[in-house]
Subunit: 388 residues, 2 copies
């Protein structure tokens, strides 16, 4: 395809790479850049993958994925997400990123419209434009005071040409989570306009507030119109494994299956086998991790109070906090660059997540608590120093 | 995108799946369907991957791939293929299939023309149409008597709108290999029309004739216009691992890198690390395997002589033989279906590889010699029985 101008380098990867290179060159950088959990992949998954490798799970699998794994995913979606499905409507992909990519390729046609909420994961807009260069994206900014969705703004934009609404809760980069009230608004819109929902739920296990993760696919009225994307990267610290999955109705899955056959053949077979172990891991696994995330969120709140030049809305879930740096007078790239130069702390410029968010930076809470604390302290120092 | 009608299910996967299901149901099927080597992945690669897993190579890598691996690939391309390149111009992808997919996405624009030779690998045409639904493909049939390319036919079709010529040697499904004379024809055409070459060299190590594999990228005059795709699936029996790579000029790699970032992030990191071991394996590794393939090719030649209803052109490399079944009076799907019913032998209908090849079937030589022999004997029996 003609690559649209929206198909740029992934700015989050670029900045993380910069920090990595500086670290490799011997300069100590505190990277609050990438959303990569720091704990190790659970031993049981590693061991099962090693067993699978030894047992010769090194050949092609069914393009959609091992039936055993798809059965486990279907069961999980039913019991944890209240999404009733069957293994036939699930495809295992090399990463959740590719799950949403193939889903968009399967559903978007020329002149279709897409509703997306900004700030958002850096790949949604490029993926829409890769899937269909002649699509139109409405990027609707969330409310600036609490990162909630203004559904009246959605109603202004949605119309008969709207093919899909992209949702991501817990949200990257804001940490915001969708509520039951949001879902009721969504259901009424979908009911009226018959469009689809692409729900990226990759951070579902990382919830450290009183909120509960809700899947749009659990609402019976719209279940058939929801494409649910998830994976193992963030929940099980398997970012480098590249395995995710998608659940959708039979018609969409049929087209996605064709794309899968010509893009991937299948996801690495022994990885599929190994990840079956993940379903034996109980929710207590995340308790410690989420309690750590909660401590970090509280530390940001306490440290970067409004007296400084950095304002925060407390994140509810996910791996990130999104800081308003408007008072600093810098745009996000300048802020991030100066912060890196002055304090050796890497954050991600808000502009990476949406055109209107150049007065924010994203901070990852994925690093160890002590390092995180040090990083936040340095951001406070930096903010004080640049105060007019 | 609007899925073009060319984006169908992969017929080879479909037929192999059918054979697999029948086998699982207890019916013994000799599958001469899929191109999946039967030997095991070399122990050293498995061991190194296990080590990498244990050592925590479970995080994101550079989107293009581990530098260590790209260095090894660059060295291999230089020493084995006479392609001079640098690690920066290489991207490691989840399978060679996705390497050609992303390459086509990066280069094709609306109304570009593509020259493809049929019969061909089932995914080329769908991939072209996925990459750019508004492209035009000229499928040029190879000569029916020896599967060679008629370069005069290429000269009839190539023009200023031609963006890329797709080549695959050793060839799937014909087993044909390109010669130095072919390359000279190619060079003169590229020189005149400035188009690109996509060279799929996935079967390069599987050569059991007196031919020598030649890479188009080794011709200095066109080196910068050749996109070389390769992987580990066929050479090292790593079909289920999904790892391949692509080498191209900096401009193409820049766009492919963007696509990689939004489709994959990267290829599974511990697989990248493990596959570094593959470069220590010497050519003697394939000697036994190629001698087996040679025995199989000779057995086809001896057994399915022209006296029967099946005619063959001896394959020179790769994993397949492509049999002319015109004399049987059946089209390829009927022949394959009847063969499966009567003799429990699965082959792949020629129509899967090109519209004009409905009088051929593809036979895979990937199975063990004894099973292969039994399968070929059964094809002979079948051919005798259906003789008028």
């Amino acid at each position: 395809m003609k690559l649209s101008p929206e198909v740029t380098d992934s700015l989050t990867l670029k900045f993380a790479q910069l920090a990595r290179e500086k670290n490799q060159a011997g300069e100590r950088i505190i990277s609050l850049g990438l959303g990569e959990p720091r704990f190790l992949t659970p031993e049981s998954i590693v061991e099962a993958t090693i067993e699978a490798l030894k047992e010769g799970y090194t050949r092609y699998s069914h393009p959609k994925g091992l039936f055993e794994l798809r059965q486990l995913i279907a069961k999980k979606l039913s019991s944890e997400n209240a999404i009733e499905t069957i293994p036939e409507n699930i495809i295992v992909t090399p990463g959740a990123k590719q799950a949403s990519m193939i889903a968009l390729m399967a559903i978007l046609e020329p002149h279709d419209e897409v509703i997306n909420f900004t700030p958002c994961f850096v790949s949604y807009v490029p993926q829409v434009k890769i899937a269909e260069p002649n699509s139109k994206i409405y990027n609707i900014d969330v409310n600036r005071d609490d990162f909630s969705i203004d559904w009246d703004r959605v109603r202004e934009k949605v119309n008969s040409k709207t093919k899909v609404i992209i949702l991501n809760s817990p949200n990257n980069p804001t940490g915001k989570m969708l509520t039951h009230e949001d879902m009721l608004q969504l259901v009424s819109i979908i009911h009226k306009y018959k469009c689809l929902v692409l729900s990226d739920e990759i951070y579902e296990k990382l919830v450290f507030s009183n909120f509960k993760h809700i899947s749009p696919g659990s609402y019976k009225e719209i279940q058939d119109r929801v494409i649910t994307v998830n994976g193992f990267s963030k929940s099980f610290s398997m970012t480098g494994w590249r395995i995710g999955y998608v659940n959708a109705n039979a018609e969409i899955i049929k087209n996605m299956d064709k794309l899968q056959q010509h893009l991937n053949t299948n996801t690495a077979t022994f990885i599929q086998k190994g990840v079956c172990e993940a379903f034996k891991i109980g929710d207590e696994f995340w308790d410690q991790h989420n309690s750590d995330l909660n401590k970090k969120a509280l530390y940001i709140e306490k440290t970067l109070s409004e007296k400084l030049n950095v304002k925060i809305v407390s994140p509810e879930g996910g791996l990130f906090a999104f800081l308003n740096i408007r008072a600093s007078g810098f745009n996000s790239d300048t802020f991030a660059t100066k912060l890196l130069e002055a304090k050796s702390v890497a954050v991600t410029p808000g502009i990476a997540f949406g055109a209107d968010w150049d007065d924010h930076v994203r901070v990852s809470m994925a690093v160890d608590y002590d390092e995180f604390k040090e990083g936040i302290d340095l951001i406070r120092e930096f903010s004080k120093e640049i105060q007019v």
